[in-house]
């Protein structure tokens, strides 16, 4: 006999029409699956034992092991065992130059190949194996059709990474109800949406990713106002810190893959022991000749991880700055991810925000529980409704002269949004304009990601700067961007729709944000240089055109003087010396002053010739 769960008032379902939905936290280190039964979200465990399913897949000759079984065998066959595959999702080989892996990775152009006993696998295929496992666990508990799943992704995941996650779910036969950001799921699990208002920080330090999000709640409206983080920072890095330190404690080089893997496992164990112990003694013999005997305490661990801790604090500060908030504005800090158990992290966050942390829900489970609640709501089992607003992760803009990016929609704008800006022509008689849509925080087009290009044709001939072209950017709630350009005097129009997920080169996006901060000064210099170059070229063109038309009004020495200044300006453009170009612009200005005056006199003369003084309106 089928067992019943308690429904919300009026939400009871007919037999065989139960709306079962699950929430999945597809993590770098561990994955979890949860569902809501009788109004309560709970983790569905593997054989009623393990809530956390290690995100580890082992390809053997005839079988594929997933989870605990794969993890247990990891040390014996590291080459065919894939852990932390989430780091490879939506990435290309060129993105991971510094990635340390026990696997044999290969460049498969659009994705990274992982060599296994069962052939070359992609990150999507490996993730699909983990998702299949989670689906099987859920089916064992629910014993009924599962309508769909909400899968969580780091707030920082770009479109390619989100698409890869969806593809993996499809491959596993899971209907994706929605992808939601991990911090948002955590906030739902803590019931923050049921509060009246407030600003909350969600600090999520998982196995492989770090996210910091700031959520604003007002009048039941749940809005993500800022996100920051690092797709390459997590518990793995703290393991690595201990791993590197342990290596130095031994004379052995640990080049052998099996030994290396064993040392990695040991490093992780030491880190976990440091959660509940002030000091951990290490005594381990790898084989008869390789032994390690040492100890580590909280202080040493904190010192060794100083660079990692600084990254989390820096990102927190940036997110606060983006949100225009100070620590006094923050009403609560939600701790998410197993790595937030580390005393060193708890302390640093408590000290930074000067308040206690929200950490009473198991930090490993909180995201999956929130995802299950969201899934339950999406299939219509709940009478509550959250209104989740998403933000644009990276700014959107267009290319202007000199390959400079003009931002139209700044990052962290809430969706949906529409913004317009007016542009003009650069040359006299210019009758078309190329609109190049880019995404990113850097000032130069080459440092941003190109999304689309289209041209506006049929601009009536006018002098440079006279045409008014309005460019409108619109992003709907699904993140679909449409860009339109309209010349205002004639109304001619062109537009394009962009779905950033498809067929686009996304290998730059992950570093874009970080580099935009690190390289802000360089960007400023580049922008200034590009601007002065545009000015110089405009000037040069103007003078050349004037010479063509009115050379006859000048005498030979004057022409020579102007040509010399022109040559010098052209020469200066070959270098990237901003001051020199400025100087040459000034010189050309000086050299053409007399010429400009003559032309002015001439045009006035032309205008007056043959006209009666009485006709002139003065």
């Amino acid at each position: 006999m089928a067992l019943l769960q308690i429904s919300e008032p009026g939400k009871g379902t007919l037999p065989h029409e139960h709306r079962n939905a699950i929430g999945i936290d597809l993590g770098t280190t561990n994955s979890l699956v949860a569902t809501v039964q009788s109004g309560v979200a709970k983790i569905l465990s593997h054989e009623n034992q393990n809530n956390l399913i290690p995100s580890v897949v082992q390809y053997q000759t005839n079988t594929i092991l997933v989870g605990e079984a794969a993890k247990l065998n990891q040390d014996d066959d590291p080459v065919n065992t894939i852990a932390s595959v989430k780091r490879l999702m939506g990435k290309r080989f060129s993105d991971i130059a510094t990635h340390t892996s026990s696997n044999n990775l290969s460049d498969e152009k659009s994705y990274i190949g992982i060599a296994t006993k069962q052939g070359t696998k992609s990150a999507v295929e490996v993730s699909a194996e983990i998702l299949k496992k989670l689906k099987t666990i859920a089916e064992q508990h629910i014993k009924d059709d599962i309508l769909g799943a909400v899968i969580t992704v780091p707030a920082y995941f770009d479109d390619a990474q989100r698409q890869a996650t969806k593809d993996a779910a499809k491959l596993a036969g899971i209907n994706v109800l929605r992808l939601i950001n991990e911090p948002t799921a955590a906030a739902i699990a803590y019931g923050l949406d049921k509060k009246v208002e407030g600003n909350y920080v969600v600090f999520d330090l998982g196995g492989g990713t770090f996210d910091i999000s700031i959520l604003r709640l007002s009048k039941g409206l749940f809005e993500v106002i800022a996100t920051h983080g690092d797709t390459q920072l997590g518990g793995d890095d703290f393991d690595e810190v201990i791993f590197q330190w342990l290596m130095k404690q031994s004379t052995h080089d640990f080049q052998d893959p099996q030994l290396k893997q064993k040392l990695k496992t040991l490093s992780k164990n030491i880190k976990e022991k440091l959660t509940d112990n002030e000091i951990v003694s290490v005594e381990h013999s790898f084989n008869s000749s390789v032994n390690i005997k040492t100890k580590i305490d909280q202080k040493l661990f904190a010192d060794l991880s100083q660079h990692l801790i600084k990254k989390t604090i820096d990102a927190t500060k940036r997110a606060l700055k983006d949100a225009n908030l100070t620590i006094q504005d923050i009403d609560g800090i939600v701790m998410v991810g197993g790595s937030t158990r580390m005393p060193v992290i708890q302390k640093i966050m408590r000290d930074f925000f000067k308040q206690d942390l929200l950490n009473d829900i198991n930090p490993d489970e909180v995201v999956a529980l929130g995802a299950a609640q969201q899934a339950n709501m999406l299939v219509g089992n709940s009478n509550d409704e959250h209104l989740l607003l998403d933000v644009i992760p990276l700014s959107l803009g267009i290319e202007t002269m000199g390959e400079i990016v003009e931002r139209i929609i700044p990052r962290n704008s809430t969706l949906p949004i529409a913004m317009a800006q007016e542009f003009t022509t650069y040359k006299d008689g210019q009758n078309a304009m190329m609109i190049h849509v880019v995404q990113g925080e850097r000032d130069l087009v080459s440092d941003c990601r190109s999304l689309a290009k289209f041209s506006l044709k049929g601009i009536p001939p006018m002098v440079a700067g006279a045409a008014k072209i309005r460019v409108t950017f619109q992003v709907d709630t699904d993140g679909l961007l449409s860009v339109s350009a309209q010349e205002l005097s004639t109304g001619v129009q062109a537009s394009i729709e962009v779905k950033p997920s498809y067929g686009l080169d996304s290998n730059q996006i992950k570093t874009m944000l970080e580099s935009s901060f690190q390289l802000a000064d360089e960007d400023k210099e580049n922008r200034a240089l590009a601007e002065v170059k545009v000015e110089a070229m405009q000037m040069q063109e103007m003078v050349e055109r004037a010479l063509q038309q009115d050379q006859n009004i000048l005498d030979e020495p004057e022409i020579k003087k102007i040509n010399k200044a022109l040559d010098q300006l052209r020469e200066s453009l070959k270098n990237n010396d901003r001051n020199l170009i400025h100087e040459q612009i000034d010189q050309l200005n000086n050299a053409t002053q007399y010429f400009a005056q003559l032309r002015m006199d001439q045009s006035i003369k032309n205008a007056l010739t043959g006209r009666d003084i009485k006709d002139m309106k003065l």
Binding site: A2, Q5, P9, K11, G12, H16, V40
Partner: protein, 107 residues
């Protein structure tokens, strides 16, 4: 006759009500549908209908509308675990036959 909860069912229901943060009790009802004619309904209650019969068992209020009561009077609601699946089970003395899935029945 009456509607009762087993101790396990009452404990579970109490826990769910508590974590839900609101609710007066459980509503038991039948709907005329399903593969064998009738189906059970089990819901949280936020508002008591004056027509409903109110029972109390192990401290949990149970509400049943008079029409449904005819079909489920004497029912004991249990909470059981079957393998990895757990949930509520109606032990209804009025049932003559139920469909394979056990979610709908005839009297």
């Amino acid at each position: 006759m009456a509607i009762t909860l087993t101790k396990q069912a009452a404990e579970r229901a109490g826990k769910y009500l508590q974590s839900r943060g609101k609710g007066l009790g459980l509503k038991l009802a039948v709907k005329t549908t399903g593969c064998s004619g009738m189906a059970y309904v089990l819901e949280f209650v936020d508002k008591i209908d004056p027509n409903d019969e109110v029972f109390e068992s192990h401290g949990v209020k149970i509400l049943v509308d008079p029409k449904s009561l005819i079909y489920i009077d004497g029912t004991e609601l249990d909470f059981v675990r079957e393998g990895l699946n757990e949930g509520f089970k109606f032990n209804n003395p009025n049932v003559k036959d139920s469909c394979g899935c056990g979610e709908s029945f005839t009297v």
